[in-house]
Subunit: 197 residues, 2 copies
């Protein structure tokens, strides 16, 4: 019941249980696999340790069922729901973080062979196309279901990002970054002044 620091991972767990109802870690593991997992990956071991922490903090309630195989089912307590709601309503200060090995390699490419870049770009184009196809398939499968509609919205963000990357690597391999730049400026209704901090 002591207070703990809640990390994003904590909120993923709370959130998943809020959306799905009482769940075992294994349930979470599978559910995460084809939803949040796409844009916030973490090892499945966390889905066993994290609920334990949250239960210790009183945000989840544990009920152990022992018929046949041992199963720990966690459900949201009132204070768990409160914590989640408070987080959802709180301002988001951090900017998103990208971790892109390809971008790193590009940054340091001067040190290596010039030939590396086209290869890299070609790989990336393929990967992003594949990922786009996966996302599109998900939209196709679940897009019709009104119940899952709200969660599908984040897919649009994901797609937008994938396309952005795809356009970049394509332009790079075609040596046409300027056109990219121009298209970008055209596509956005004038971003306005940077609202000096």
């Amino acid at each position: 019941m002591s207070t703990v620091r809640l990390s994003p991972t904590s909120y993923v767990v709370l959130g998943m249980i809020a959306l799905r109802g009482p769940s075992t870690p294994y349930d979470l593991k599978r559910a995460v696999g084809h939803s949040v997992g796409y844009f916030w990956n973490f090892p499945h071991a966390q889905l066993y340790s994290e609920p334990e922490r949250l239960a210790a903090a009183g945000l989840l309630a544990l009920s152990v069922e022992d018929s046949g195989r041992r199963r720990r089912t966690y459900s949201l307590t009132d204070s768990g729901r409160d914590a989640l709601r408070a987080w959802l309503a709180s301002p988001t200060d951090e900017h998103f973080q990208m971790r892109d090995i390809a971008e790193l390699k590009l940054f340091f490419n001067e040190v290596g062979e010039p030939g590396n870049v086209p290869t890299l770009a070609t790989e990336q184009i393929k990967q992003h196309q594949e990922r786009i196809a996966v996302y599109e398939a998900m939209v196709e499968r679940f897009g019709g279901d009104p119940a899952s509609r709200p969660r599908m919205i984040t897919l649009e963000l994901g797609l937008e990002m994938e396309y952005a990357a795809l356009r970049f690597w394509t332009a790079l391999v075609e040596g046409d970054l300027d056109r990219l730049r121009r298209a970008r400026e055209r596509s956005t209704a004038t971003p306005g002044a940077p609202t000096s901090e």
Copy 2:
């Protein structure tokens, strides 16, 4: 001289030293701050411990200078350069990872108040605009310098991503995700088949 596992962080260190020449951790800290740091953040403490590991593995050479303040200067060894080059030439298997708290909140928003979403979106729009302004300023400052040109290219990727996010949140707040979708499809020369597997 024993072998170590090289993480992306290791390559950031090797890469920075390759680009800048011999450096102290503090140099790296500052250099990272206004370059790689934008798309691959890590705590500065790593910039003290990581070079040590790399030196132990023979990829960096340490020279301690003791005039006045103690300074550890690391420089690239041949095998360090080789390791970096090999990495640059190696295929990149992992997809990029995003960590976006705002996206998480959006995903779980059904659980909270409906009013949260517009607020969130507005915040995000502002943040992305600010970040775009920072990037543009960097382009303006360094874009003219041919020496730093290669490294500027990654800024284009960053900008492309920022604009993608900006467009998404803008569309969301305007309730016009469909237009976003259509614009996306128009903007890309047909992505082609997902190249099975």
